[in-house]
Amino acid sequence: MEQAAVKIVNAHKAFSNTQVLKALNMTVPTGSIYALLGNNGAGKSTLLSMLLGALQPDQGDIRLLGEPISTRLKSRLGCLIDAPAFYQNLTIKEFLSYCAKMKGLPKQCIDEALTIVNLQAKQHARLKRCSLGMKQRAALANAILGQPELLILDEPTNGLDPSGIEEIRTLIRTLPERFNTTVLFSSHVLEEVEKVATHVGILAQGNLVIEGSLQDLLDDPLGTLEVSISAEHTDKAQTLLSRVFKVSTPEAGKITIHQIDKSLCPQVYKSLLAQNIDFYQFHYQKQSLSKLFNNIHLSINKETEYA
């Protein structure tokens, strides 16, 4: 079996009295585009900093490309940090030339990286005078210098305009095939993750609560059924449906049935007709990443309240 590009086993990290990561286990398959999702304060940046070796875990084992983190290993990694790190007095080309020298790479790879992120025309612009989008592209160019085996990107489309976002998404999608690279990126934009990622991990309260292939997660047969019912029949419909399903309290005549198998929808339809309940909208929605994400956070919040 092919080794995982990133393998984290039982990682713990605390700052003072705050436990940021708790017994975290994570596996990023080689060649995948793995999206790390989580709210602010979930521990994403701490986790990415640990992968870069900038922070040490209090406990646990982290292996990148099959090796423990070391200075030597960093030559096989590329990274883009949340607030891109730059030397503002340098031009884009000088900055990339500096990074290439520090990585021990030849000069040719600078032009290649500039072409990929579409910054050739602006290569002599001083970073101080660049827009956030251009800086983000320059940081991405630094990350892909020398075609690293593992790319760690923290919110790579941050600050880009819509066309820039699309370009970077396309670039990320093509990286595994183009450079034989594994990509691990964090993002707040669920739509972006659905378009780009092959694998997803959702981080909440220092734990990876769900992890796996995006296709497997979204292929869950359980979806959501929304039925809009006439005002006089709402109570009757709720009583009927709540005998069998988990039904939400009706809102503006709309009843929502959570986690219902698609195959049961015709049965619900027939039951409503049989009971002479008037309804004017019947809509089944399969699992989406945003629903999955929200459900996870709702259940965590409920658990916290209960505790």
């Binding site: 960093k74 007095n89 500096y98 020298k101």
Partner: protein
């Protein structure tokens, strides 16, 4: 290893492009010389005749080594570290496959080379100002009492502990004002301490001034020996700091 260190050193030099650090290296010795030149010229030949060229050079050396050089060192070390403190520089550095110790040594060498350059400029400016004074009717320049080579070497060696202390403070404190204030307090303190024959060695900021005292070779040698010994200890400290902070950068 040596090639790698040189590469890092050259890369670190790249970061100084378009920084106001290079003009500062010229401006500081020039300010000292300009001041003394104007004062000497204003006082005229009668006052100059009392101490001659020795007095002129001593006045320049005291102002340079006692005040301007320590302040310049504080400024240079602060700028060198502020480049990294700003905009996540340390995090970027931690993503490269380079040893934090090598990085520390590279930064130390850069500061040291810049200070050597400023000392060299100071010596050059002394010659230029002396030539200008001669053109203005002052006596022929004689430097028999002071060896400029000794001035240059001693001032550079005794700057070492101040450079290392500056690197430690500016690495720990992400702030422009604090390292400069600390340096200013130490300079004022050293000015008083340097007058005491028994207590000057308590402050490294007195060593550059003491090291050029031609009359007392034993004291000069002691200042140089103390500088080298203290520098060795401080270099280990600063390397440890780099290694330790590298792990806690985020």
């Amino acid at each position: 290893m040596l090639k790698h260190t040189l590469t890092i050193l050259l890369c670190e030099c790249t970061k100084l492009k378009r920084q106001w650090l290079i003009p500062l290296l010229f401006a500081c010795p020039f300010a000292v010389i300009s001041l003394n030149f104007l004062v000497t010229f204003e006082r005229g030949l009668d006052v100059f005749a009392e101490h001659g060229w020795f007095g002129y050079i001593s006045a320049n050396s005291t102002l340079w080594l006692g005040l301007m050089l320590p302040m310049l060192i504080a400024l240079v070390t602060t700028i060198i570290h502020q480049i990294e403190h700003k905009d996540n520089g340390w995090l970027l550095m931690s993503s490269f496959a380079i040893s934090p110790i090598l990085l520390c040594i590279a930064k130390f060498f850069i500061v040291f080379l810049l200070i050597i350059l400023s000392n060299l400029l100071m010596v050059c400016f002394i010659f230029i100002s002396a030539w200008l004074l001669m053109q203005l009717g002052f006596p022929k320049f004689e430097s028999a009492d002071i060896s400029f080579l000794q001035f240059f070497i001693n001032a550079s060696i005794t700057s070492l502990p101040i450079i290392l202390i500056g690197l430690i403070i500016s690495k720990l404190i992400n702030n422009f004002a604090a390292p400069i204030c600390a340096a200013f307090i130490m300079v004022v303190f050293a000015m008083n301490l340097s007058r005491s024959e028994n207590h000057w060695f308590y402050s490294p900021w007195t060593y550059p001034m003491i090291s050029i005292q031609v009359a007392d070779q034993t004291t000069t040698n002691l200042a140089i020996t103390l500088s080298l010994g203290l520098s060795a200890v401080l270099l280990v400290t600063v390397c440890t700091l780099y290694w330790w902070r590298h792990k806690q950068v985020a």
